[in-house]
């Protein structure tokens, strides 16, 4: 299975790089050569590197009902259409690349299908079989039409006897030259492989006049209608460029407050040693990750029997969210500068000469948290803190996050709150 996929992928990749093997002009309507068109005609369509020329209209996959395609019973009301990837010049020159299945039935009916009316045939270097066929198509064309048909069969890796080719060339029912089991094997081989994928084209048929092609010429109205939908061959430059991925880090917010008591006393004035209860909280909102993928969809646009497969490429936005946890967090409580001055050199120093700072800075690291959805919540509760210095304390949180799969670790340093500790003072009324 893996091997099959690999082979198909290689064929597809090679087929995409159209490499003209040989433009042949020897097969005319009678199989012996008619209108010459040589390499110049191919050059009008393809550059030397195999890319389509800019002025070539890529009409996409065109479908047409064809009498030479196999039939299902009439009562089913289902018909098989022939399919060609079609390229055209404004001059009327047309190149058709039939799908593998269409090509097979063209080979069975080379005259009625217009295969012999092509002014040149080219194969792509797509894998061993097709390369082999390329040699056959280039060398055998000039020798015989049968060789040409056998070359196509070889390109499709399908047994195709000389009797079958002769009958097809003679305009007889090629089906009659094979038995049921053989036809079953041939068609199963053709249909049961991904060689018949609609995106794989191995043979290109040049029609110097569109009227000779199986599809005929597009009417002016059709051209006008189809022109806006012409899609150049998908290349990097023609595809819309999707925006670069975008990471929106989640907001880091925090709160900190005293929970009890309402009026905390310095421990030296509190016989119950109640102390202060504090709570610190950090919330980190989800990190949002936007990225875009190029997605291609196709739509068949039909006018009468002519259908064009129009491909649309668009950048589709995708969004993912991630939880960003706290890696380290330290909660601090520090006596405010103004309070320190008040104690050391301010009013308090005047009232209590020699007053000093006992324990102005506190720190704790025993918090914890978790993701709730993609929002991270961290909390630290500290109870009965025996504050000895009166004044205002700044409540500070310092730490780092772990980052997310799409964003690096971040640091934070926030002062979300403050609390007060009181000193009872006696005033002497003068």
């Amino acid at each position: 299975m893996t091997r099959k996929i690999l082979v198909c992928l290689m064929i597809f990749l090679f087929a995409w790089q159209i490499t003209p093997v040989l433009a042949d002009d020897s097969i005319g309507s009678d199989g012996n050569g008619e209108e010459g068109s040589g390499n110049e005609s191919w050059a009008a369509f393809f550059q030397s590197n195999g890319e389509l020329r800019a002025d070539v209209m890529d009409l996409g996959i065109q479908s047409m009902e064809a009498s030479w395609m196999p039939d299902l019973p009439d009562w089913t009301n289902i018909e098989l259409s022939a399919e060609f990837h079609t390229y055209a010049l404004s001059s009327g020159e047309t190149v058709l690349a039939p799908t593998a299945t269409t090509l097979f039935f063209m080979a069975l009916n080379p005259r009625s299908s217009g295969l012999f009316d092509s002014n040149g045939q080219m194969t792509t270097g797509a894998g061993a079989n097709v390369q082999g066929a390329g040699l056959l198509l280039s060398d055998e064309f000039e020798k015989s039409a049968a060789g040409f048909l056998e070359g196509i069969a070889k390109a499709l890796d399908i047994p195709f006897t000389k009797e079958l080719a002769d009958a097809a060339i003679a305009g007889e029912s090629a089906w009659s030259t094979i038995n049921f089991n053989d036809s079953l094997n041939i068609l199963s081989k053709l249909l049961n492989t991904s060689l018949t994928d609609r995106s794989l084209f191995t043979t290109y048929l040049l029609y110097s006049q569109c009227a000779n092609s199986p599809l005929g010429c597009l009417s002016a109205a059709d051209q006008k209608r189809l022109l806006p939908t012409f899609q150049p061959r998908p290349t990097q430059s023609t595809q819309p460029e999707c925006p670069a991925p975008q990471v929106i880090p989640g907001r880091i917010s925090s709160t900190a407050r005293k929970t009890a008591p309402n009026y905390a006393l310095v421990v030296g004035q509190d016989p119950a040693k109640r102390g202060v209860d504090l709570i610190y909280e950090i919330t980190i909102s989800p990190t949002i990750y936007h990225f875009w993928t190029l997605e291609t969809s196709s739509e068949e646009v039909c006018t009468g029997v002519i259908c064009t497969l129009v491909e649309h490429s668009e950048c589709v936005q995708h969004t993912q969210t991630f939880c960003e946890p706290v890696a380290t967090a330290t909660a601090h409580a520090s006596l405010a500068k103004s309070s320190r001055e008040w104690i050391q050199s301010g009013v308090l120093q005047e009232l209590y000469p020699g007053a000093y700072l006992h324990h102005p800075d506190w720190r704790w690291t025993n918090g914890g948290g978790g993701c709730n959805g993609n929002t991270y919540r961290w909390q630290l509760r500290q109870e009965r803190i025996q504050t000895a210095d009166p004044g205002y304390y700044d409540m500070r949180l310092v730490g780092t996050t772990s980052g997310t799969p799409v964003s690096p670790s971040r640091g934070f340093d926030m002062t979300p709150g403050k609390f007060d500790v009181y000193l009872k003072m006696t005033s002497i009324i003068q």
């Binding site: 009301n77 199963s188 249909l191 994928d197």
Partner: protein
């Protein structure tokens, strides 16, 4: 009661005569009347259900559901190869289905065994002729006919492979009639 020897002899003789008459009568009948062996076609039903399911999935199609839904529906009852074939064929058929805005429902009625063949990879395959009723859901018109399909044995089960094209059915019928003619000629030839 006493049975005499002469009575026993009589019974033995009568029995012998009856046996001889029966045997000679049987051979006389075989000699003067040709042997009539009823020709009973083998009724092979191994892949019958797969054939019925396959045609139902293939012919029940609604353009409003999209091509992929149709492919998925067929693939659900198909072998891997059959699913690949459907993927390859669907694109060629879908243009017409979409243009005609086809909405059809098929109810299979009967699947008749036609032939068993060994596939290229050695799997057993069977060809069935399926009949049933096709209803055009847009107009409620009905249609019916024969659809030949091939089914394949996968392990102990049978799954749908694909429908046969008319050209293949013609080849099959030609071969069947040729075989029947050859057999008829053989039976008419005098026995040595």
């Amino acid at each position: 009661m006493e049975i005499s020897i002469s009575t026993l002899k009589k019974i033995a003789w009568i029995t012998l005569v009856v046996i001889l008459l029966s045997v000679s009568g049987f051979f006389a009948y075989r000699t003067f009347f040709p042997r009539q062996v009823p020709s009973v076609e083998p009724v092979i039903t191994n892949g019958q259900e797969a054939a019925l399911q396959g045609v139902q999935a293939f012919l029940t199609v609604d353009f409003t559901n999209g091509k992929q839904a149709w492919i998925d529906q067929v693939c659900a009852v198909s072998t891997a190869d059959g699913c690949q074939a459907m993927n390859n064929l669907a694109g060629m058929m879908w243009t017409g289905i979409k243009n005609k805005k086809s909405r059809m429902e098929y109810t299979p009625e009967n699947a008749t065994f036609i032939r068993e063949i060994a596939g290229e990879d050695g799997q057993m395959q069977q060809v069935f002729k399926v009949t049933g009723l096709l209803v055009d859901l847009n107009t409620t018109r009905t249609a019916s006919g024969e659809m030949h399909v091939i089914v394949e044995q996968v392990g102990n089960d049978w799954s749908f492979q694909r429908v046969l094209f008319e050209q293949e059915v013609q080849l099959l019928q030609t071969e069947i009639s040729r075989t029947a003619t050859a057999e008829a000629q053989q039976t008419r030839e005098p026995q040595p």
